[in-house]
């Protein structure tokens, strides 16, 4: 194992903001953030539809607001084929709904509550994610 590209300060700063969002949403609106839940409920359920939509719009406004205040462009790199993008997207959408949570819902909100379900889910998707990258690198 070699460690590369390590940026603990920006990661920690971003994490603190994510934690702040989660706790404000709880204290003020009484709900725990889970993006897969918010997004799929927006698609499927009439309950809280406007709130869910506004949260998603907020997410999408985030990068522009960041760029406006910092003056820094955001660069991302995705190198998958169309087939893998679609396959990966369906797996993420279907999997997170089957298990009722994703990185935010289980990994942050659930673990904050000390939910055993969420701790097991988080360990499972982390381990499978690591194994998937290992296998992809070998193939």
């Amino acid at each position: 194992m070699n460690i590369i590209n390590f940026t603990p300060l920006s990661a920690l700063t971003g994490g603190l903001l994510i934690g702040l969002s989660v706790i404000l949403f709880f204290i003020l609106n009484g709900r725990m953030v889970g993006i897969s839940g918010i997004a799929s409920d927006f698609l499927i359920s009439k309950d809280n539809r406007i709130d869910n939509l506004l949260f998603l719009i907020g997410l999408i406004l985030g990068p522009s607001i960041y760029t406006f205040f910092s003056g820094q462009e955001i660069e991302i790199s995705i190198s998958n084929s169309l087939f893998l993008l679609i396959g990966g997207g369906v797996l993420v959408g279907f999997g997170t709904r089957l298990s009722s949570g994703c990185t935010s819902g289980h990994g942050i909100s659930g673990i904050s509550r000390f939910s055993l379900r969420s701790i097991i889910a988080t360990m499972t998707f982390m381990i499978v994610g690591i194994l998937t990258v290992l296998i992809t690198n070998i193939l």
Binding site: M32, L59, I60, V128
Partner: protein
Amino acid sequence: MNKIVSLFCGIIFGIGLVISEMINPAKVLGFLNLFGEWDPSLAFVMIGALVVSTPLFHLFKNKEKPIFSSSFSISNKKEIDKKLIIGSILFGAGWGLVGLCPGPAITSIALLNMSSVTFVIAMFVGFYIAKLS
């Protein structure tokens, strides 16, 4: 008021994903590449988020009600079942293939990257299939 809170919390969450670079699939795949060239940064995203949310959650959970809403709504599921495990395995596989999970995927729509837009459409199809099944 809770509409404004929803928008504001979304914005803060989105900016957090940008600053931490969780929005960048290459960064996420670097984190998951534990057995190769490993970038441990994203562990600090989780630490940062949990350091804020965990103590404050336990401080406020026994309050009568949230400030702008009539009651708290928290999952009361306890069961460790097949759905939880199989769902998490499928999610982990998709996450490891592309490096996007739902929050960063939706946030990255702002960058008008065709790959991430394609991924998000497929993810919503996945939500819908889960609803049907």
